[in-house]
């Protein structure tokens, strides 16, 4: 991966009618990078992707690819690949013809075409399916065809919309490995859109967390997972206990308590359930829920702050529902948040 910026979005604003879907978005993507756009539905991630592909008009701002301003270039001249969530295969064509579609438009034919298409099908492991009609294929196979169809075009950037969401759990893992392998082998710059943090963490070199049409945080999977910048990101990556910090007080959704010790400089603090020790500590709560998860037990405590979720080793003695319990919110185990909602 080189550090040179390959694809740049500058002050990008996209809108459906009067409602802005994305506002003033700035983003730089490196050559050969595998980037995830992560966020809940309606956050503008798919809209951003479609605008990069030229399928969504840009209200204002710029898209620059490989040194060329492509903001007003039409979709068929951008050299960008897009694998749609619905795969969008052409049902009237065979697998071979689907993959050949773009190449034929470039005027390729005969042996050169056959060679390229067959190589593309081999990459995704569908060499034996060339003559099939696409509606006869399974979801996973359809996605591979869609992937091959984009890959044979050797796009400058390959984008995938929710590439794993329509697959069952087993296929999902297989496809994840497959995507990583394809990306490594072809070296193509890849952007994929997902609402699933697990997918983003597992696949991406870098994650862009989006919310309400703006970027909430950009970072490596480790950074996003361990150092969320805001309460929104923290909540998204599984910090289930989030409090604001104000004048030495911890402020939860239900109320506030005085912190037992000095707090770090931050707008808020976030703990994963695993970081909350039970049985000792300066705070008090009542057990309102407990569930056994094999290696651990998950508790929900009712506290003056609001509900607190804790996960402790199942080997430790269990607390019954209704037990009054001491617990701790250790500042050193918390992720400091710069931004609270």
């Amino acid at each position: 991966m080189s550090d040179a910026t390959y694809l740049t979005l500058e002050k990008l604003t996209l809108a459906y009618g009067k409602t802005a879907a994305v506002e003033n978005l700035d983003l730089s993507i490196h050559r050969g990078e595998l980037l995830a756009l992560l966020g809940p539905s309606g956050c503008g991630k798919t809209t951003t992707m479609r605008s990069i592909a030229g399928l969504m008009p840009v209200r204002s701002g710029k898209i620059v690819l490989d040194g060329r301003d492509i903001t007003r270039v039409s979709a068929n001249k951008r050299e960008i690949g897009l694998v749609f969530q619905s795969y969008a295969l052409f049902p009237h064509l065979t697998v071979f013809e689907n993959v050949a579609f773009g190449l034929r438009l470039q005027g390729m034919s005969g042996a050169a075409l056959t060679e390229k298409v067959e190589a593309g099908l081999k990459t995704v492991g569908l060499s034996d399916f060339a003559a099939r009609k696409t509606p006869d294929l399974s979801g996973g196979q359809q996605q591979r065809v869609a992937l091959a169809r984009s890959l044979v075009m050797q796009p400058k950037v390959l984008m995938l919309d929710e590439p794993l969401s329509n697959l069952d759990a087993r296929l999902r893992l297989e496809m994840r490995t497959e995507l990583q392998r394809v990306q490594k082998e072809s070296g193509v710059t890849m952007i994929f859109v997902t609402h699933d943090q697990v997918e983003a963490l597992a696949l991406a070199d870098r994650i862009v967390v989006m919310r309400n049409g703006a970027i909430e945080q950009i970072g490596t999977p480790e950074e996003i997972y361990n150092q969320p910048a805001s309460s929104f990101v923290a909540d998204f990556v599984g910090f289930e206990n989030i409090t604001a910090v104000k004048d030495g007080m911890l402020v939860g959704p239900a109320g506030e308590v005085k912190a037992s010790g000095p707090l770090p400089q931050a707008a808020g603090l976030a703990w994963r359930p695993r970081s909350i020790p039970l049985g000792s500590g300066p705070y008090k709560g009542t057990v309102r829920g407990v569930s056994y998860a094999g290696s651990s037990r998950e508790y929900v405590l009712e506290t003056p702050l609001g509900p607190v979720k804790a996960e402790v080793d199942a080997a430790l003695p269990a607390y019954a529902l209704g037990t009054e319990l001491a617990f701790d919110l250790p500042p050193e185990a918390a992720a400091p948040l710069q931004k609270m909602d």
Partner: protein, 275 residues
């Protein structure tokens, strides 16, 4: 579904008998007129019919108008249908309502309305002379152009509706996918939209072409006796000339043209990119 075929056949019997008595038998009798002479069966009447210049002209004019109206309806229809299909659900219903609305008004009323617009003192002529483009009124009424406009207006909704239902079934994102793969709009239409909506084009095209051939009121009112079409000629042959042989020949020609149009449309619609 049924215990045996007899039950199903019994249920279909009334409709079959009805169709046979009031449709098949009379049509067969009428068509046989064209082949029957005192000496036996012959196609001499057809040879005579087509050797008359007037009949040739009427035949060619009918064919030409049928084809141009169908072609124009397909071009306008595809654009309209695609635009409507991409609308959000709420406005889609309203737009389809607007397309269907003319079908609820009698073709007679719709056709007479064109006289108001196309006539010597009609809106178009008044506008043209007001702007100073013409000295006197331009003759539009009782020309092929008038019949063309009238027929297109009459049958365009059928094309749009047929194409809407076909385009509704276009796979989501198939068009954007083709765009991203490098297809310009012409290629998108030719390689993706047309092959995936061919059923709609065949149905719509057959309806429009057959409708244009067999429409009587519109050519009668907007074309008059100046722009005879097969249908108006047939009416003349029966009511004025009392010539049932000619009428029978024209009827068979019309039927044959409808079938030919359907076959031709299937050909066109299934012809994809040249490989």
């Amino acid at each position: 579904m049924f215990q045996n075929r007899t039950e199903a056949l019994a249920l279909a019997l009334p409709a079959a008998v009805f169709a046979a008595v009031v449709f098949l038998v009379p049509v067969a009798l009428l068509l046989s007129e064209g082949f029957k002479t005192a000496d036996g069966w012959t196609i001499q009447a057809y040879i005579d019919f087509f050797s008359m210049p007037l009949n040739q002209a009427v035949f060619l004019r009918t064919l030409k108008l049928g084809l141009t109206v169908t072609l124009a309806a397909a071009v306008i229809g595809y654009a309209a249908a695609y635009a409507i299909v991409t609308l959000p659900a709420s406005s889609k219903g309203k737009m389809i309502g607007l397309v269907v609305l003319p079908l609820m008004i009698s073709p007679v009323a719709r056709t007479y309305a064109w006289i108001v617009i196309l006539g010597r003192t009609g809106i178009i002529n008044q506008a043209l002379s007001a702007v100073g483009l013409t000295d006197g009124p331009v003759r539009i009424l009782f020309t092929e152009t008038a019949v063309f406009i009238g027929l297109l207006q009459l049958f365009l909704p059928l094309m749009i509706i047929s194409l809407i239902s076909a385009l509704e079934n276009l796979p989501r994102d198939a068009v954007p996918a083709a765009r991203v793969l490098g297809a310009n709009w012409f290629q998108v239409f030719w390689k993706v939209i047309l092959p995936l909506s061919r059923e709609g084009l065949i149905v719509g095209g057959t309806l429009v072409f057959t409708g244009s051939l067999t429409a009587y009121i519109t050519p009668a009112i907007l074309g008059g006796s100046k722009v005879l079409m097969l249908e108006t000629l047939l009416y003349q042959q029966v009511t004025v000339a009392n010539n049932f042989v000619s009428a029978s020949i024209i009827a068979l020609i019309l039927i044959a043209m409808s079938f030919a149009a359907n076959i031709l449309l299937r050909r066109i619609a299934s012809a994809r990119s040249a490989k």
